[in-house]
């Protein structure tokens, strides 16, 4: 299967097509609207399910298999903001806090993009390390902490750990709902193992892919409503929103290949690195870097990088992983 076929197979999945329908609904100003409670519920469900499944997989694989690639993933997440920040400052002319905020979003990860990638792999029968959601879990926080430190002026020496904004970011990066659900459910899954999975499979596994399709319908509307903001963010951020996932994602695939992940696993690490957070990061960053304009980071993450990854990024990283393995 070459790149075109991969893209095609990805584009014709229910998940991606429902995303497109959502964008259409928003752009055509249909009165379709998901209640906010449904959005929260779907988020809670997806994070819990993916965390739990990952925990069960860790229980099966053993921590000795998981720790090295997980550490690599974590390091990658921490490094991305360190290079993205100067690039956003110098080339993008962003303020210190805006650059820190955007860097935090792009170093952190998007759970939904990750889930869409696992669906893609499943649909083409490509195996992957099922403990890969552990990478997702450990990549959420470090980038947020580092991005906020940069946005507070760490490079100019203005930064201090006693700053309430920084302490807030630390707290949120560890106790924010995204991280808490993922890590919490993962620990639960690894404690329960297969036996626990058997009892809750009918909820956390059976309907999972369909729920994702419904969620992507909503994400399509959310992204579609922000298309108007593309004008406000400027050409540089538009380019950044597409270049960053390609660069970060390729780095992720390479690193994954290097630490010995399978084609599927390296694809997933690429997808994680290439994705930008829109659940954990926005909440943590907003209160820690209030001077940063949330329109920049949210529009780039939601209206540019997310659609790019969902449609083109995932098959792209998969092809790269295949190529490296050949």
């Amino acid at each position: 299967m070459d790149f075109v076929t991969a893209i095609q197979s990805n584009l014709l999945s229910p998940a991606v097509l429902f995303f497109v329908l959502g964008v259409f609904a928003a752009v055509s100003k249909s009165d379709l609207k998901f209640p906010e409670a449904l959005y929260s519920t779907l988020t809670i469900y997806l994070l819990t399910a993916i965390g739990f499944k990952g925990g069960v997989a860790i229980n099966e694989a053993g921590i000795s298999t998981v720790w090295l690639p997980a550490l690599a993933a974590m390091t990658l997440g921490a490094v991305i903001p360190l290079w993205a920040y100067p690039c956003l400052r110098k080339l993008g002319k962003f303020s210190i806090s805006d650059a820190g905020a955007i860097a935090a979003h792009y170093g952190s990860v998007s759970a939904v993009t990750f889930i869409a990638a696992t669906n893609f792999l499943k649909s083409i029968d490509q195996p992957y390390e099922s403990y890969a959601s552990a990478f997702l879990a450990v990549m959420e926080s470090p980038a947020i902490i580092i991005g906020v430190m940069l946005g507070k002026g760490a490079l100019g020496g203005k930064f201090s750990f006693s700053d309430p904004g920084v302490r807030h970011a630390l707290r949120d990066a560890v106790l924010g709902k995204g991280v808490l659900l993922l890590i919490g459910a993962m620990i639960i899954g690894s404690l329960c193992g297969k036996r626990g999975m058997a009892s809750v499979e009918g909820f956390f596994v059976t309907p999972f892919q369909g729920v994702l399709a419904l969620f992507l319908l909503e994400m399509g509307m959310v992204a579609g409503r922000r298309l108007g903001d593309l004008k406000k963010v400027g050409l540089f951020l538009l380019l950044f929103g597409i270049t960053a996932p390609v660069l970060h994602g390729s780095a992720g695939v390479l690193l994954g290949h290097w630490v010995g992940l399978s084609i599927g696993g390296a694809t997933l690490l690429g997808v994680l690195a290439g994705s930008a957070s829109y659940i954990a990061a926005p909440a943590a960053v907003r209160l820690s870097l209030p001077e940063a304009n949330p329109t920049y980071s949210l529009t780039a993450a939601l209206a540019i990088t997310f659609p790019f990854n969902i449609t083109v990024g995932i098959p792209l990283f998969f092809e790269l992983a295949k190529y490296l393995n050949a």
Binding site: F34, E36, Y39, V222, D229, A283, R286, L287, T295
Partner: protein, 100 residues
């Protein structure tokens, strides 16, 4: 029945600020508050509440006039610059003045 004049302070802001605002309310000496999930629009654009990051909250608090002033001043100096928000004051009358 005798009614006693009080001030009602209304604050509309990003939902993410709710906890911080309630803390501030306590610091200036209020005894309670009421919070509404809302959406809206303003200078910082549409806040459509389609995702929780874009939701607003309206907080209303009945207070003695002196506290209203302190509260509005602190909002002005600490929060107005960085967050999407509006705040205003109006006159109300209550039956149990010592409750507020």
């Amino acid at each position: 029945m005798s009614l006693h004049p009080m001030k009602l302070v209304t604050i509309v802001c990003e939902a993410i600020l709710e906890d911080r605002l309630v803390e501030l309310l306590r610091e200036v000496g209020t005894n309670g508050h009421t919070a509404f999930p809302v959406h809206g629009s303003g200078n910082q654009g549409n806040r459509s509440a389609d995702i929780s990051e874009m939701a607003n909250v309206q907080i209303q608090v009945v207070v003695k006039p002196a506290i209203a002033e302190t509260l509005l001043n602190r909002l002005q100096s600490e929060l107005f610059a960085a967050f999407a928000m509006v705040a205003y004051e109006s006159d109300v009358r209550v039956l149990r003045p010592d409750k507020f």
